[in-house]
């Protein structure tokens, strides 16, 4: 416990230091060893120069305070060189960035930028270094004929359920961090989260889970989200805790009401 608190002077400071360290000591190393990343990355060449300049303006106005000019990182935020367009699209698109305040982890909130601005920001950051690109449409198509829900569910339970809960209702991590519920998250954002590993989520690169398998996982998530609960109210899909709570506060309370009525004298 002591070790833990010593390590965590400030959650974001640690994160920033770590990534900064990564950049300085292992920049070349990571470029050389990550063959798989190169497959799914681009350097911003698909974006127009205008997008990149517009993105830079937006970046300097909204992001540079923490991430530094040219995204080299500061004490308050990690470098963004090499995080890729997918990461920007996820972080900005889900409203996590810009952060409202420093805390254990960035909160999702309404997106502060238009789709166009988000794309421009992504274009700018992608131009700074190779990183995961925006996913291709075909891997987000949950109605694709090759989709296998059973496979998606199995992969979800092995790789994701321990943090996000088997019904994707979310769960707790250490020291105030958490894995958020996945209902209402777009296909693209789910995919981007897997390839970029936002916050403390591990990266599930294409070498680990193939793009087709990621599509199965997303299709499975969309299926359980849209099908609803067959047995009535799902009680947050939190399992025995919410069930026990309902039995004590609802079931037993209603019965006590009946008991009092039953044993009271009629007027």
């Amino acid at each position: 416990m002591k070790a833990l608190s010593q390590k965590r002077r400030h959650p974001i400071a640690g994160l920033a230091l770590l990534l900064l360290g990564l950049l300085i000591t292992g920049g070349l190393y990571s470029v050389a060893s990550t063959m798989n990343q190169a497959q799914a990355s681009n350097t911003g060449s698909s974006y127009s120069a205008e997008d990149i300049t517009e993105g830079e303006k937006l970046f300097n106005a909204n992001c540079a305070t923490c991430h530094g000019v040219e995204a080299v990182g500061t004490e308050n935020g990690p470098t963004l060189v090499g995080v890729g367009a997918a990461s920007v699209n996820f972080q900005v698109g889900t409203g996590r960035m810009p952060m409202q305040m420093q805390g254990p982890q960035a909160q999702a909130k309404p997106n502060q930028f238009s789709d166009e601005q988000t794309a421009q920001l992504a274009a700018y950051v992608a131009s700074l270094g190779a990183g995961p690109a925006i996913p291709e449409e075909q891997y987000l198509d949950t109605d694709h004929e090759d989709v296998d829900l059973g496979n998606g569910g199995t992969l979800f339970r092995v790789n994701c359920a321990m943090c996000h809960n088997a019904a994707a209702a979310g769960g707790a991590l250490t020291r105030g961090k958490y894995a958020p519920p996945l209902a209402g998250v777009s296909e693209q954002h789910i995919y981007e989260a897997m390839i970029t590993g936002p916050q403390n989520m591990p990266v599930f690169s294409d070498a680990n889970i193939k793009p087709e398998d990621k599509r199965d996982i997303i299709a499975f998530l969309k299926q359980i989200e849209s099908q609803g609960s067959p047995g009535g109210a799902a009680l947050g899909s939190l399992g025995p805790v919410s069930e026990g709570l309902l039995v004590w506060t609802g079931g037993l309370a209603v019965l006590i009401g009946f008991m009092v009525w039953l044993t009271s004298r009629s007027s």
Binding site: N165, R175, F258, L262, T263
Partner: protein, 562 residues
């Protein structure tokens, strides 16, 4: 051989003939004579036992339905039922048949949900029933044994619940079984072998579901049924206890006769309980097994919890620190023949709190009898405020239990109240140690304050809610004196004083007796004595000058039926 000359009763109507046939063969008349007008006191808090009994009946009925479709086999199969997100997934036959009950059998899902909700309610009702018995002192002589039977029923209820929870063989309960396996393995000397015997070899094996199934559908319900029979038989022998009040004495029981009023109320209540359980089963999902997927030792889900009644053990496991700095509670003991391992980090939280709770629960009638030296029969219940120390101990126990219970959902507390998981654990650890003491002290104070308030009402009447101005211009609230029926309830309890240590036969005071006297002082030293005759007479002499006399009769009865 001589034939009897008495003319036997001959029935004339068809119903009469059947009744007469039964009567002459089974002796119904004596039974009707014995039970037909038996008296049961009426109070809402006496109904929790009935909720438990009725939910058990519902469990038997819905459970029988489920056994007709459930297949407790761990054989391997590929799911090809109606639930699409699991189509083509490898799983056990047990899980597949549980899914079929939910998705391919009409009413199967409803019956599953009714069964599970009834199970949660069953244990909850038993627990509240036992709390009622504890706080009112209904466990005292002659009902100690029935208290023990009740404790046994609670444990059997937990056993029934846990064995049932594990049957669908899905990921959530599979991880629950894995936790049980880990706890069992922590038992020194024999733990590893118990685990092998339980699972038929290494975890998870292919035997456990079938074994739990036979325990769940045969052995445990049969034992519960047997205990219920003993429990109810003893209730008939003892007759029911009753709250203090006018007309109630230690020698009588006041209430309504079985026929017709009590039978109608209790019988009708069965349908009410069934109706409430049906509402839960129809509108609220319980144990969404389709979410969890088949059991596989690799996956696990965030928010892995047992059903509520096992929660306190799980919570104790979570609260225990496994290491303190570099010290580990995993203790490798060097013996001459080699090193053995004692997993105290598991053993202590799994066995000690539950052990203490159940030991104190089972033993409490004897503990209290030893401390108070009260070996008299009690049929009039204590109002909890009139037994402040016992009530305090009970609340301390509840708080201790609830802290462990809350710890079992520490992760959900963290996510839903946006606090750190680690901080929740630290706070609950502190409450685990200090909570019961704080609870005891506060409860005892509240009880004493309520007793003082009772005295106040007896001596000066209750506040009428009317402000009056005296001719001198002074404002004061009018007090109304209670009628005797209400008054009696407030004054009819004993002034129990500490009993100092008594010398034994040899004239010496034994150490255990000194200890007893200490406990006894702790029990009774702080007390509020009931109002005496003299005090009441004294108070009444003041009345005429400043307190208007009470309104007699009329509304004096509304609380008496309780």
């Amino acid at each position: 051989m001589s034939t009897s000359t008495t003319t036997e009763y001959q029935a004339s109507t068809p119903t009469g003939k059947i009744a007469n046939f039964m009567d002459t063969r089974a002796g119904l008349s004596p039974m009707v004579k014995e039970f037909g007008r038996k008296i049961f006191p009426d109070h809402w808090s006496f109904m929790f036992g009935e909720v438990a009994l009725y939910t058990f009946v519902i469990l038997l009925m819905s459970g029988t339905f489920l056994t007709l479709f459930f297949d407790p086999s761990m054989a391997h199969t590929t799911y090809e039922g109606s639930y699409k997100p699991l189509y083509g997934v490898e799983m056990s036959v047990a899980y597949a048949s549980a899914l079929d009950i939910s998705f391919d059998i009409r009413g199967g899902l409803f019956m599953r949900q009714v069964h599970h909700w009834a199970a949660l309610l069953f244990v909850a009702a038993m627990s509240v029933h036992m709390l009622r018995v504890f706080f009112t002192g209904a466990f005292r002589r002659p009902r100690e044994l029935n208290w023990v039977v009740g404790c046994t029923l609670l444990i059997l209820g937990l056993a029934a619940g846990f064995t049932g929870y594990s049957l669908p063989d899905e990921m959530l309960s599979g991880n629950g079984l894995r936790i049980i396996d880990g706890v069992v393995k922590a038992i020194p000397l024999i733990g590893t072998y118990i685990s092998f015997f339980l699972f038929g070899g290494e975890f998870p094996g292919d035997d456990i579901i079938g074994r739990l199934y036979i325990l769940h559908v045969l052995v445990v319900p049969a034992l519960i049924l047997l205990m219920i029979v003993i429990h109810l038989f003893m209730v008939v022998v003892h007759k029911h206890t009753q709250y203090p009040g006018p007309g109630r004495t230690e020698n009588n029981v006041v209430g309504y006769p079985v026929g017709p009023v009590y039978a109608a109320k209790a019988g009708g209540f069965f349908f009410i309980v069934f109706g409430v359980v049906a509402l839960l089963g129809g509108f609220f999902t319980i144990n969404a097994i389709w979410n969890y997927g088949p059991y596989d030792p690799s996956p696990v889900q965030a928010g892995t919890q047992p059903d509520w009644y096992i929660g306190f053990v799980d919570g104790a496991l979570r609260l225990m620190p496994g290491t303190l700095g570099d010290f580990s509670f995993k203790w490798d003991i060097p013996f001459p023949w080699g090193t053995n391992t004692l997993a105290l980090g598991v053993l202590l939280p799994a066995l000690v709190p539950a052990g203490i709770l159940f030991a104190v629960m089972f033993g409490w009638p004897w503990i209290e009898r030893w401390i108070t030296k009260d070996n008299r029969e009690h049929h009039i219940l204590d109002r909890p405020r009139n037994a402040p120390t016992r009530t305090g101990v009970g609340v301390a126990g509840i708080i201790w239990y609830c802290v462990m219970w809350a710890a079992a959902s520490s992760d959900l507390i963290a996510t839903h109240f946006s606090v750190s998981l680690n901080d929740v654990t630290y706070w609950l650890r502190a409450l685990f140690v200090f909570g019961p003491f704080i609870g005891f002290i506060i409860t005892k104070r509240v009880c004493l304050a309520l007793q003082r308030k009772d005295r106040e009402i007896v001596l000066h009447g209750r506040e009428a809610g009317v402000i009056e101005m005296t001719p001198e211009g002074e404002f004061r609230e009018r007090h109304e004196r209670l009628d005797d029926y209400r008054l009696y309830k407030l004054v009819s309890f004993e002034n129990k004083k500490p009993i100092p240590a008594q010398p034994g036969r040899d004239g010496k005071i034994k150490a255990s007796e000194k200890q007893r006297a200490k406990f006894n002082r702790w029990f009774y030293e702080e007390r509020v004595a009931p109002v005496t005759r003299e005090e009441l007479a004294e108070a009444k002499t003041h009345d005429h000058s400043d307190v208007p006399s009470a309104v007699e009769g009329q509304d004096g009865q509304s609380s008496i039926g309780h």
